[in-house]
């Protein structure tokens, strides 16, 4: 089954009166359970593509179907709801909320669904267990190392059991060792939990973890 289907997508940013085409009729199909590495020079539109797949941005033209849902017809609220169920997002700079503990950060996506406080907490702890941070649930982000912060962010991304994980340079801000741990974790989520993963990276070492690597340059993809 095709999990991510991007068809003939164009994305043009308008800067003043000038139009800057970033994606130019781009198409890609990603199968369920695949682990795709997305590479390309800075400014080539990797983040833009990831945002389109994740439904936090909309294409200028073209169509996206993710997890069987065509994104074009969805309105803002429906798209938000769809996102919370289907997509797990992992940022380069973790983007944890500094005033919340690890556990509370992971609970955030669950606050949008009706469930008891206890169930929310149990699920958050379970997710933190999967990323190996069962003993850090009460820590605040500033009390964690970068690698640990990124693992909390991954726990947050997987806590509502989405089918697709989108990671934008998840190891970009980490040293080699922590980076390797994060890559191993993503590989495991792909292998054992059947998550379909799209990971943007500048690092060919990181890209080796992916099943396949695609290159984005001048608005189009090449294998």
């Amino acid at each position: 089954m095709v999990m991510v289907d991007v068809r003939n997508v164009r994305k043009v940013y308008r800067r003043d009166t000038q139009e800057v085409p970033v994606l130019d009729g781009l198409s890609i199909a990603i199968d369920e359970g695949d682990f795709v590495g997305l590479m390309g020079p800075s400014g080539s539109g990797k983040t833009t593509l990831l945002n389109l797949i994740g439904g936090i941005d909309r294409p200028t033209s073209g169509e996206l179907t993710v997890a069987g849902q065509a994104l074009g017809p969805l309105g803002g609220r429906a798209l938000a709801k769809w996102r919370s169920r289907t997509i797990g997002y992992i940022f380069q700079l973790y983007n944890l909320i500094p005033v919340l503990t690890a556990e509370q950060n992971v609970e955030l996506p669950l606050m949008l669904v009706r469930m008891s406080g206890k169930e929310r907490r149990d699920r958050a702890r379970h997710a933190l267990g999967i990323v190996g941070l069962a003993d850090r649930v009460k820590h605040f982000p500033r009390q964690l190392s970068g690698g640990q912060e990124q693992r909390v962010a991954i726990a947050r991304a997987i806590v509502s059991d989405p089918r697709v994980l989108l990671a934008d340079e998840p190891t970009g801000d980490l040293d080699r060792k922590s980076g390797d741990e994060i890559l191993e974790l993503l590989a495991r989520l792909n292998r054992e939990h059947q998550k379909t993963i799209v990971m943007v990276t500048h690092d060919s070492h990181a890209a080796e973890r992916a099943h396949r690597v695609v290159h984005l340059d001048k608005g189009v993809l090449s294998a």
């Binding site: 936090i56 938000a80 709801k81 983007n95 005033v99 955030l108 996506p109």
Partner: protein, 394 residues
């Protein structure tokens, strides 16, 4: 964790800022309730006289006198039950020049007019048999027997620490000199709004020591047999003296008191304006603080939205956050006003009353401040485009 808990965590982010905003709202609402309390107390004191009494004063102004010779002519008007002469004294306690209280001189008819409003609670024994004015409380015998005697309100007694039988000295400002007076009775107000802060003494004392036989008096107070005829009687009085050199203005004692209170300009209007200005200033301060607080969290809103938080949820969260700050400050400020200020002495007005309805209004205002001050940042946060919001961290 739930959404409300998240709001509270956000409130704790910058505790000093939250506390300062809360306190500014608190002070504003404290002031608002205090000012409303003064206005309400004023209104109430004006109501105290009902229509059973009319006040006759000089048509030119409150400080111009009237001839004493008007008294029998006023008494002759049908429907007038009793006429008393009264004069504002305007003296001070030389030991406490700033502790304002009202003093009035009244003739023998003066105190019986207020029989329904005051009750004598303490009185000295009379030296011997005394001829009392019609309708006077027999306990006032000692007062009527002595020219330099006075009657003092219970609260004023407590405030000054005076004792029954004590001879006090008032220094005159309009009528200069030292005025020794002996306290021969203490009164209590039957209704709270009548006040217990006044000193009353004999008109003859003022006249002989202070006026040198001028034959003038400040005002007349008319007690009416039939309150329904107040309007007619007022017209009759003013018509009677229209072409004399001392034309009169007759008004209900409510209207008279209102005029008295606002003698120094439109005080109630000013008080009301002040209350609104304070509230409005704080509204702007709170709004500014909220906008700045939210600006620091733009990228976090981007993250929350990425996780699936809807625009409306973000909007509500910011709004509730603002409302909690202002509501908290509002409740504390309003209640503080109620418990700290109620009963405070306002000079010749009855003690300050702050109604529960004022507290409720204050709290609603605090909520409105919260809503309005939160509206702009809530709207901004909810309208953030995710990709732009996220870009601000990178």
């Amino acid at each position: 964790m739930n959404l409300l808990a998240l709001v509270f965590v956000n409130l704790g982010r910058n505790k000093i800022r939250t506390a300062l905003t809360l306190m500014s709202v608190m002070v504003a609402l404290f002031l608002f309730c205090a000012l409303r309390g003064v206005l309400d107390t004023l209104q109430e004191s004006i109501k105290a006289g009902a229509e059973t009494r009319l006040v006759v004063r000089n048509a030119v102004s409150l400080v111009q006198p009237l001839p004493q010779s008007y008294k029998p002519r006023l008494e002759a008007i049908p429907g007038v039950a009793r006429v008393a002469k009264s004069n504002w004294f305007g003296g001070q306690d030389p030991n406490d020049a700033k502790g304002f209280f009202a003093q009035f001189a009244g003739d023998d008819d003066y105190i019986p007019i207020y029989n329904d409003d005051v009750e004598i609670v303490e009185a000295s024994a009379a030296p011997g048999p005394v001829a009392l004015p019609r309708g006077a409380d027999p306990r006032l015998a000692a007062y009527y027997a002595e020219q330099t005697a006075c009657i003092v309100g219970r609260e004023l007694m407590t405030r000054k620490g005076w004792k029954l039988g004590q001879t006090i000295t008032i220094s005159g400002t309009i009528y200069p000199g030292d005025w020794p007076m002996t306290i021969r009775a203490v009164y209590r107000a039957k209704q709270k709004n009548f006040g217990e802060q006044t000193l009353l003494f004999h008109y003859t004392y003022l006249e002989q020591k202070g006026m040198g036989g001028s034959g003038l008096v400040g005002i007349y107070i008319l007690q009416l047999a039939d309150p329904q005829r107040a309007g007619d009687i007022a017209k009759t009085v003013d018509a009677m003296f229209l072409n004399s050199s001392f034309a009169t203005l007759t008004e209900s004692s409510q209207a008279f008191q209102a005029g008295f209170v606002s003698m120094y300009g439109n005080v109630p209007f000013l008080i009301g304006l002040l209350g609104i200005a304070v509230v409005f200033a704080i509204l702007l301060v709170a709004a500014n603080t909220m906008v700045m607080a939210m600006r620091e969290r733009v990228s976090e809103f981007g993250v929350l939205k990425t996780l699936g938080f809807e625009d409306g949820t973000i909007f509500t969260m910011v709004l509730v956050e603002a409302a909690i700050i202002t509501l908290g400050g509002g409740i504390v400020g309003a209640l503080a006003a109620k418990y700290m200020l109620a009963g405070v002495n306002l000079g010749f007005l009855p003690p300050l009353t702050i109604y529960w309805s004022t507290i409720a209004t204050g709290i609603v205002i605090a909520l409105v401040i919260g809503a309005v001050s939160g509206l702009v940042p809530a709207w901004q946060a909810s309208r953030l485009v995710i990709v732009d919001a996220l870009r601000r961290v990178d």
